[in-house]
Amino acid sequence: MEEEGKKAAPNEVFPFMDAPTVLRCKNVYKDFKLPTEQATGLKQAVINWTKGVRGYKTQHVLKGITFSVHKGEFFGIVGRNGGGKSTLLKIISQIYYPNKGSVSVKGRLVPFIELGVGFNPELTGRENVYLNGAMLGFSKAEMDAMYESIVSFAELEDFMDQKLKNYSSGMQVRLAFSVAVKAQADVLVLDEVLAVGDESFQRKCDDYFTQIKKDPEKTVILVTHDMNAVKRYCSRAMLIKDGQIASIGDKNAVAEQYTLLNLEADRQMAAARNAKRENGKVWPEGLSERCPVLRTFAVSKPLIGSDEKFVFGVEYEFNEDSDFYLAIAINDVRRGGITYDSGAKTFRMTKRGRNTVYFSFPVNLFNNGEFTIYTSLRVPSVKDDGFTEMVGVATGDNACSFIIRDPRNADYALLSDRAAVITAKSDDVETLQWNGWRPGTAQVTAEARRREERTKDPLERRRTQLLERIEEIEGIRLRILNEAKLEKLRKEKAEGVERVVPIAPGVLRRLSGVDLSGKVAQITLDDVTLSEEELSELTGSSEEAHLIDQLNTVNDQIIAKAEQEKGKK
C-alpha cells in the first residue's frame, strides 16, 4: 500500500492493516475560489464583469493527499486550523468533490460534521429522531425498531414529546450523538464533535469510543485537536499541514509532531508581534543595525532521544571591531526557567562579519521535555571589562526548539535518573528500582543490603533477626486484639446493649462492618476496651516476652563489645 507523507515510524506494524480497505484517497486536490468582491446580485456581477475584475482568487486547500483506511481502524486526523482537515472530511463524505484525484469508499459512510444535522427546533424530539433517521436512510419501520435504544442511550425518556427548542443544549447534543451511535454505519466520520457537551456526555463518548475501538467491523475516522483523545483511542493517525500529509502512522509520534507545530506557530506569532521598526527597516525582536543577523537553528532532528546530542548552529553577523561572544541559554518550556546557561564570556568568536558556528549539547541528563535555545551576542561592557553588554538576541523566530522523548524518561521532573539519584542513608528505607531503569552504580535494594548485613558481625545479625521476629508477633497480636474488639461490638449489638462513647472533637472515624445506629454515633476500635478476662482469652503469645528477653541480652552484648573497641582505641 503506497502512502505519501513521512512515515512517523516506518517499521512499526499497526493493527488492522491487513483488513480490507474501506476508504482510499488517491492524489486528491481541492481548490476554492475565494471571492474578493462579493457579487450576490446581478447588478454587481455585471459591473464586475465590465470592469474586468475577476473577483476571486484561487486558494489551494488540498495539494495531493493519498492515504487509505482499513476496516476496523480508529483513524485520527490532526492538524492546525486551516490545514485542510475539514475540507478533506467533506470530500470523503461526498459533500465536496475534488478537483483532481479520486476518493473511493467501500461500505456505508456516515459523516457527522455537526451533531444534529437537520434537527428542526419546531419539531418534537421524537419527530426529529425519525427525520434524522430518514436523512441517514432508515425507513419508519427500521426507526421504530431502533427508537427505544436511541432514547435510552440519550436518557431522555420523559422529554421526547417536547419541542426541540425547549431542550437544553446538552440534551440536544446527547440526542444527536445517540442517533449517530445507533446509525450502524460501516465507517463513522466525526469532525471535532467531542469538543461540545458536558462532562457526563464526554464520558459517554469515551465509553462508546473505547468499546468501538475493539470492534473489527467498525471503522472510525476522527478529526480532533485533542491529543489526549488521539493517544487514547486511535490505532493510527495522520497529520495534515498546509494541505499535505506531514506525517502518518504511530499516533504518539503524530501527536508530538502536532505539539511541535503548535510551538513553532506560537513563536512565530510572538515574533511578529514584537517586530521593531528602526531606520525604516523592520527588525525582528532582538536584532538591530549592530547585529542584523542572529539565528539559532537545529541541525539534529528537533525530536531527539536521550542518547543523542542535540547539535545546533548559530548564524550571526557582526561587523564591529571589538571582541564579541555568544552566550547560549536553554529554556525549559514545559517547566519554566533556564535549565542551562553557558555563561556570558565562555564562547569567543574569532571570525568577524557573517558566519555560522555549530554547537552540541548532550541531553542524557534530562527527562522528557520541550526546550528552546536562546543565543545572545555580547560585547565587553564599555564601563567595566568584567561585564558584558548584549548587542543582539535570537528570540522568537530566531530561536530554536527541540523536544526530548525517550521511553526511559519520566515526564514530570527535569533530571533523569542517569543524572543523579537520591540514595537512602537510613536502614528503615527500602529502595526499590527507579522507573524500571537500573543505572550502574546507584542501584540499592533491600536484598543487597541484607546480603551485606549477613557478612557482617554475627551479633548484629542476631539482633536484626530478633527485631524482625518481634515485629511479626506485634503485628499478629494487634490483629487478634482488633478482631476480639470487633467481635465484642457485634455481640453488644445483638444483645441490644447501648454504648455511649465521647467522640473526640474534630476527629472523624468510622467503623465499617458494624452498624451502631441510634444513640451511639461513631466509635473506633480504640474506644473499645477489653476486660482482663477477655484479654486473657486471647491466644496470646508468650513467645514475645521470651524474645524480648533475648533481644535485651543481645543488645547488652553489642554495647559491651562496642565499649571494648572504644577502650582499645
Binding site: F32, T40, Q94, I95, Y97, I113, G118, A134, S149, Q184
Partner: protein, 286 residues
C-alpha cells in the same frame, strides 16, 4: 455476548439508493407539511381556504362586477379549477427555488442528492393541489357538471403541468444559489404570466375583441402553462366551451400545436441538465 449484542443492533438501513432517496423524500415532504402551518389556529385547512378565498375574490370582482364570464353555467367551477392549478405552479416555484438555499445547512453537512429537496417542495404543492381538486369536485357536483370520458386524460395533463413546473423550478433553484435576484424577477414574471393566461378571465373575452388583440389572443395558448391548465379545465369540466390548442388552431398549423409540449420537454430536460451540472458546487457556493 458481544456477538449477540451486535446482532441485536444489526439493523442496517436499506442499501438501495432509490429506496433511500424515496425515504428521504417522504420524510422531507412530511416535515414540510407539518411545519407549514405550525402555530396557526386553522392549520392544514388553510391549504384549502387560501384558493377558496382567492376564488371568492376573483369571482366577485371579475365575474360579477366586471362581467367577464364566458357565459356558461359552470364558469365558477372552471374559474376555481384554473386558480387551483395556477396556485400549484406558484407554490412549487416559490418554495422550490428557495429550497436549496433554505436547506443549505443540511446540504453542507450530509450527503444526499440535492434534487430531492426541490422535488420535495413540488410534491408538497402537488399534495395541496390534490386537496384543492377535491374541493373542485365538490363544487362540480354542486353545479351538476356532466363528466365525459375525457376525465381519463386529466392525470396526463397534470403530469404535463408537473413536468414543466419542475423543470422551471430546477432552473430557478440553480440560479437562486448564485444570484438571489432571480426570486424578485420571478415574482414579477409570475404576475405577467398569470395575466397573460386565461385564468381570471375567459379566453373568449379576448378573442371577441377586434383587431390585433383578438389575433394575439390565440398566442396565449402557446404558453405551456396556459395550455395545460386549459387542457385540465377542458377535460375535466367543460369540453364544449373551453378552448385548448387542439381545438382553436386549424390542423394545418400542426407545428404550432406541438409548441407547448416541446417547450415542456425543453424546460424539463434543460432543468435537469443545468441542475445536475451545478449540483456538486452547491455545498461550496452557499
Amino acid at each position: 455476548m458481544k456477538r449477540a449484542h451486535a446482532a441485536a443492533n444489526a439493523i442496517k438501513p436499506s442499501t438501495s439508493k432509490i429506496r433511500r432517496n424515496w425515504i428521504i423524500l417522504k420524510a422531507l415532504v412530511h416535515t414540510d407539511f407539518k411545519l407549514r402551518y405550525q402555530g396557526s389556529f386553522l392549520g392544514v385547512i388553510w391549504s384549502v381556504l387560501e384558493p377558496l378565498m382567492m376564488f371568492a375574490v376573483m369571482y366577485v370582482v371579475f365575474a360579477k362586477f366586471l362581467r367577464m364570464s364566458d357565459g356558461t353555467r359552470t364558469y365558477p367551477v372552471v374559474l376555481l379549477l384554473g386558480i387551483s392549478s395556477w396556485q400549484f405552479v406558484t407554490d412549487s416555484t416559490n418554495v422550490g427555488l428557495r429550497s436549496i438555499v433554505d436547506r443549505g445547512d443540511m446540504l453542507r453537512k450530509v450527503h444526499f442528492p440535492n434534487y430531492i429537496v426541490v422535488v420535495a417542495a413540488t410534491m408538497g404543492a402537488l399534495i395541496t393541489y390534490g386537496i384543492n381538486l377535491g374541493v373542485v369536485l365538490i363544487f362540480a357536483f354542486g353545479y351538476r357538471v356532466h363528466f365525459t370520458w375525457r376525465v381519463v386524460l386529466v392525470p396526463l395533463n397534470i403530469i404535463e403541468l408537473y413536468c414543466v413546473t419542475l423543470g422551471l423550478t430546477l432552473i430557478m433553484a440553480t440560479m437562486y444559489a448564485y444570484y438571489r435576484d432571480i426570486a424578485h424577477i420571478w415574482d414579477v414574471l409570475q404576475q405577467v404570466i398569470m395575466y397573460g393566461m386565461p385564468i381570471v378571465y375567459p379566453l373568449s373575452y379576448v378573442l371577441r375583441r377586434r383587431g390585433i388583440v383578438g389575433k394575439l389572443g390565440k398566442l396565449e395558448l402557446l404558453n405551456p402553462f396556459a395550455q395545460f391548465i386549459q387542457d385540465i379545465r377542458h377535460n375535466l369540466i367543460a369540453p364544449a366551451t373551453q378552448q385548448t390548442i387542439w381545438n382553436l388552431y386549424p390542423n394545418s398549423l400542426w407545428y404550432l400545436k406541438a409548441v407547448p409540449i416541446v417547450l415542456m420537454l425543453l424546460l424539463f430536460f434543460l432543468g435537469i441538465f443545468i441542475f445536475s451540472k451545478n449540483s456538486k458546487r452547491f455545498a461550496e457556493v452557499m
